[in-house]
């Protein structure tokens, strides 16, 4: 097999699958960052949702219940983050870190206590969420590109468009951006900045919940310890690379997905160490951070330094 032969339909499909959780987290992170919230806790929200999703699906035998419970877990973790940061005055970063550590230890504890397992949990009675075939695409050429994905993947495309309009074309989007760019001016203009922050935090909780259940119920039907594997942070980088805009974040996530998918496929072509393959998304993230840095340096030079006083 030659290296260029990896660019086929299955690469495209695996790209979309890898990009989905990053994009979901990225959208949430983009909204939060636009409102001036540094939401480090997304990783923990995702992990909690992944675990609760699979536990609920296991006990109820219904994929929908699993999904709903998973999303609720994401939202509840987001509420915890909000209460700590805004009602109890904790630093956002510290609250986020504590939540991440809490989620890692908590899911591991529940895994051992509820299921008596270490490392991972999988069971035939867990109901995963099934892929959806799009009817009118049947037997057309587009079918293999666009049909047969799980619901969250369609949601990502949908959100990219909807959020674009919300972000640029609605009063709400303007209010969110104003909150991040200049909180005092936003307050003077009658925007309740605290409410905007809460809104974005809850919204990111919902998306992190969907992202978490995507990992444990859609992509695979199993839970492994630390299954989010830094996707919460990579989502933050994606949003920051995409300038905190919906479409930019979407593009950045596709880029991450592409790197991931190519890495996995290259494994079949060359005799590469699996650890180096696993490193690709993170190495890519570091490279992107450097690129963000370079871009920032040029941008900073255009603005007089003291103007941000």
């Amino acid at each position: 097999m030659e290296w260029f032969e990896i660019f086929d339909i299955s690469l495209f499909r695996s790209l979309i699958r890898s990009a989905t959780p990053i994009a979901l987290i990225g959208f949430g992170a983009a909204m939060c960052s636009a409102a001036g919230v540094l939401n480090i806790g997304l990783e923990g929200k995702m992990l909690n949702a992944a675990f609760i999703g699979i536990a609920a699906s296991y006990y109820s035998g219904s994929a929908l219940t699993g999904f709903i419970c998973g999303v609720l877990a994401g939202v509840l973790t987001a509420v915890l983050f909000g209460v700590l940061s805004y009602n109890l005055g904790a630093d956002e970063v510290l609250a986020g870190l504590a939540i991440n550590i809490f989620a890692i230890a908590g899911t591991r504890y529940l895994l051992e206590t509820l299921f008596k397992r270490r490392g991972f949990f999988s069971d035939p009675s867990i109901q995963g969420i099934d892929p959806i075939e799009i009817g009118f695409l049947k037997d057309t050429r587009l079918e293999q590109f666009l049909s047969g994905y799980t619901p969250s993947i369609y949601l990502v495309f949908f959100l990219a468009v909807v959020l674009y309009f919300v972000y640029y074309r609605t009063r709400l989007g303007t209010a969110i951006r104003a909150t991040g760019e200049n909180p005092e001016a936003a307050e003077d203009a009658g925007i309740n900045t605290l409410r905007m922050k809460w809104l974005t935090v809850i919204f990111s909780g919902v998306l992190a919940g969907i992202g978490g259940t995507f990992l444990s119920l859609e992509n695979m039907t199993l839970f492994t310890e630390g299954m989010s594997a830094g996707k919460g942070y990579i989502g933050l980088v994606a949003s920051s690379f995409g300038n905190n805009t919906p479409l930019g974040t979407f593009g950045a996530s596709i880029f991450f997905g592409l790197g991931d998918a190519i890495g996995i496929r290259l494994q079949g072509v060359y005799e590469l160490d699996s650890r180096l393959i696993l490193m690709i998304p993170y190495a890519l993230t570091v490279i992107i951070l450097v690129l963000i840095g370079v871009r920032q340096i040029y941008r900073v030079r255009k603005v007089p330094i003291e103007s941000k006083e």
């Binding site: 540094l38 480090i40 915890l80 700590l84 009602n87 109890l88 005055g89 904790a90 630093d91 970063v93 510290l94 609250a95 870190l97 504590a98 939540i99 550590i101 809490f102 890692i104 230890a105 908590g106 591991r108 504890y109 051992e112 206590t113 594997a229 830094g230 942070y233 990579i234 933050l236 980088v237 920051s240 160490d273 650890r275 180096l276 696993l278 490193m279 993170y282 190495a283 993230t285 570091v286 951070l289 450097v290 963000i292 840095g293 370079v294 920032q296 340096i297 900073v300």
Partner: protein, 360 residues
């Protein structure tokens, strides 16, 4: 940040009581008898020479990682990547331990530790430069570098540093590179004293020297405000102190990893799993971002951890419960408004004035 005040201590104890209550509830729900577990917990942490030594040995990396956190947070940089520094520090300490064959007994250990510190510090160079010169959040870059570090060391001890076919480990370090283990029944070693020394040294440098003042002024005395106007007014280049602080923090993180290899395991193996970097952040926060506060709270944390291990070993209770409880404790300790709301009570105000000297 203010020094330890009475209300902080009060909230710490209140938090401890509440977390103990939560632990009681969790244990009861999962069908254990809390008091028996508590007894085992205490026994595992404090009773008998072996358990005490193990507690101190477990504390060693925590002391160093919490001190590393203290330094980086005090210069205003959120260094979450101490875990990454630990990994690379440990790997290269092991490498130096078997590679340099001609060094004498003391020089070899020292060289190994210096190598660990240098590598750990280099690991932090990129995030520091990115933050200072390009404004890229050091939080995200250091976290991502943690993941890179884990995979990098695992690749290295499978590949270039692997001891021929036996197992994915590095060769055992030479005897000249070992830190002395004093007791036959515990891995307790000289590393502990080195860690305590580093904590005291950091306390001295940070609080009593001009260099330390320059470092602290970069952070404006507050967490998370690196480009500090305060230090600019003082004429101290906050860029320089931020980078220096990050590098020192990385070096201490690397040392924490190095001591694990030189004192405990004597080689680096693939399954080596560090969490001390993350826990060190929590410990440093409980210690109010003071080096000695970090020292004391890491001793407590290690006792918790060791007690948890003992309970895990003796019963079905998972050891993770300790980390859960510590995270809940952090929720309380970091809640600044909760702490400040205590000021409403006259008696607490009075006690506060009595016990604390305010630093302006």
């Amino acid at each position: 940040m203010e020094k330890f005040s009475f209300k902080d201590v009060l909230i710490l104890f209140a938090g401890l009581f509440i977390t103990a209550g939560i632990a009681y509830a969790i244990l009861t729900i999962t069908g254990f008898i809390p008091l028996d577990i508590a007894k085992l917990f205490y026994e595992g942490a404090f009773v008998g020479q072996r358990n005490i030594l193990n507690t101190l040995n477990i504390a060693t990396p925590y002391i160093l990682t919490s001190v590393a956190t203290v330094i980086s947070f005090r210069v205003g940089m959120f260094n979450i990547g101490i875990n990454g520094s630990m990994y690379v520090g440990a790997l290269y300490a092991a490498w130096a331990g078997y590679r340099f064959t001609t060094l004498g007994e003391y020089t070899h250990v020292v060289v190994c530790m210096l190598v660990a510190m240098a590598v750990g510090s280099l690991w932090m160079l990129l995030p520091a430069l990115l933050r200072v010169y390009a404004g890229v959040s050091e939080i995200i870059s250091t976290i991502i570098l943690n993941f890179v570090a884990v995979l990098f060391v695992s690749y290295m001890c499978n590949g270039p540093f692997r001891e021929a076919p036996i197992a994915p480990t590095t060769p055992r370090i030479l005897e000249t590179a070992e830190l002395t283990q004093y007791f036959p029944n515990s891995q307790f070693n000289t590393g502990f004293f080195i860690a305590v020394f580093v904590a005291f040294l950091t306390y001295f440098v940070l609080n009593k020297t001009t260099f330390g003042y320059e470092l602290r002024s970069g952070g404006d005395g507050l967490v998370g405000f690196y480009p500090s106007r305060y230090s600019t007014y003082l004429g101290i280049p906050s860029n320089r102190s931020a980078i220096t602080g990050m590098l020192i923090s990385g070096a201490i993180g690397g040392l924490a990893g190095g001591l694990e290899v030189l004192g405990n395991t004597r080689n680096f193996y693939q399954e080596m799993n560090f969490n001390q970097g993350f826990d060190g952040i929590l410990i440093a926060i409980i210690g109010k971002l003071e080096p000695l506060g970090g020292l004391i709270s890491s001793l407590f944390f290690a006792a918790f951890k060791n007690g948890g291990l003992f309970v895990d070993y003796k019963t079905e209770v998972s050891r993770e419960i300790v980390v859960i409880l510590i995270a809940i404790l952090i929720f309380f300790v970091s809640s600044q408004k909760l702490v400040n709301s205590l000021e409403r009570f006259k008696i607490i105000q009075k006690l506060d004035n009595f016990f604390s000297r305010k630093v302006k």
